[in-house]
């Protein structure tokens, strides 16, 4: 009697476990994901705190909380990008091809990587939040607001993972790393990173006004200050991006399957 094929969930759990084990047991994979957001947080919140005194800034929870939201969403996005690096590495070493041969549900492979990306981001968020609170970050939002903030981060992580997975499965080499990383970096930094949207002017205001990352950032900052705004737009953008990039990732999986 032939063994029963594994379900998609079983495949996802196995892929996730291996990916999580890989980055937890190798400091070279774990450290950048944790240290980079911490470094950005320290640099921005520490080095730019005077920006909070600029006329018209007026963010009620202070500059540390203002920057925390950016770094939280950035770490969510880069949790996905770093997982994309892992997928590319699996293709380079041939391990991903073994996945494709062994898994009855290939969608489960992508789901597994997605779970690993979320676990990776969650570890970073825990460290980042602890450091921010120790540094005296003011959180004026209630429990539901804080939940909303982290839910936004989950949506960003999901979208970034799908984007990076789509690239990784098309390029199937770590040389595709800049292609995974640079657009994410670009979109994040073309949002109101240092000051609210109202204080931006010129071309960057125009670009930031149509950048979906702006809605995510402004909504996240609304949550942490206890004055939620643009909630529907932010979740709409986050989930729409995740859905769009899920299609991109599915296309990448088809390409990888076709490549054999």
């Amino acid at each position: 009697m032939s063994p029963r094929p594994a379900s998609g969930w079983t495949v996802a759990r196995a892929v996730a476990w291996r990916s999580i084990h890989n980055f937890l047991s190798n400091p070279a994979f774990l450290a950048p994901g944790i240290l980079f957001p911490l470094f950005f947080f320290v640099s921005f919140a520490g080095g730019l705190s005077a920006i909070g005194d600029v006329p018209g800034f007026g963010f009620p929870s202070g500059y540390t909380a203002f920057q925390f939201v950016f770094v939280l969403l950035q770490s969510a996005a880069f949790g996905g990008v770093f997982t994309g690096f892992g997928i590319a590495r699996d293709f380079e070493t041939g391990f991903a091809r073994r996945y494709l041969l062994a898994a009855s549900s290939r969608g489960g492979i992508v789901a597994g990587y997605t779970l690993a990306a979320l676990a990776r981001a969650a570890i970073t968020w825990a460290v980042l939040t602890a450091v921010a609170l120790v540094a005296g970050m003011q959180v004026d939002g209630g429990g539901l607001d804080v939940f909303g903030l982290y839910a936004l981060a989950v949506a960003v992580n999901l979208a970034a993972t799908m984007w990076a997975a789509g690239v990784a499965m098309r390029v199937r080499s770590i040389q595709g790393g800049p292609l995974m990383q640079f657009p994410v970096f670009l979109v994040l930094f073309l949002a109101p990173v240092y000051v609210p949207l109202d204080l931006l002017s010129g071309w960057i205001h125009t670009v930031a006004s149509v950048n979906p990352a702006t809605a995510l950032l402004e909504s996240g900052r609304g949550f942490i200050s206890g004055q939620p705004e643009l909630v529907a737009l932010a979740f709409g953008c986050g989930l729409a991006l995740a859905a769009l990039f899920a299609l991109w990732a599915r296309g990448g999986l088809r390409r990888a399957e076709a490549a054999g």
Binding site: F39, G47, I51, V54
Partner: protein, 259 residues
Amino acid sequence: MSGGARTQVGQLARRSVLRTLRQPAQIAPALVFPLFLLAVNTGGLKDATNLPGFPTDSYLTFALAVPFMQGALFSVMNSGTDLARDIETGFLNRLALTPLRGAALLSGLLAGSVVLGLIQAATYLAVGLIAGADLAAGAGGALVIVALSVTITVAFGTIGLFAALRTGSGEAVQGLFPLFFVVLFLSSMALPLDLLQTEWFHDIAAANPVSYLLGAFRSLLIEGWELDELALGFGIALAILAIGMVAASSALRTRLVRT
């Protein structure tokens, strides 16, 4: 310098320059990435000029100093990665069989950094001025900016050579990038030292040599000819260059003995 040494340096310099110019993947990020950050930071931090005590009403002029430093960071990566590749492919071992002198090898390898430094400095300055930055020191100041930029680029390049000779691995050299990025960010990169309110950050930035290298560029862009700040900037750059060369020479001797 004797004729033989001149020939040795010349041959290696030619190779280093050609290798740099033939790799757009080395040149393009070193030009595009700093200019992208300049554009984003200038747009995002424009209102910082409204802070009492900010030295200029143009954030672009203030921020224009930063690409020169970021460009120098790329020099660490490029010079180090090139040498690491020579070590990994065995080219350095073959050079060791020739009468080549260590100092000639290191000087020749830095020629690529000099060329890259010139291209970077001219591009950053031209783009900055076209975008509307001020240059208080005038045309002479532009030449000094280019000279300072090339000096810093070469000085940082020696650190890349040292890292390559110590580790023999391109991947290890690439791993230095985040470290240098941290050093750049923990300086007066975004705001003047006087306006850094967070005490520990101010203390770190005040002790960070990068703040004074940035200060030398800014003196020419914002104030004009401030000889103290220029002397400090060139002094720090030359000190890094001297320390880097001594460290790289020592690492080269160790590596050649090992091989």
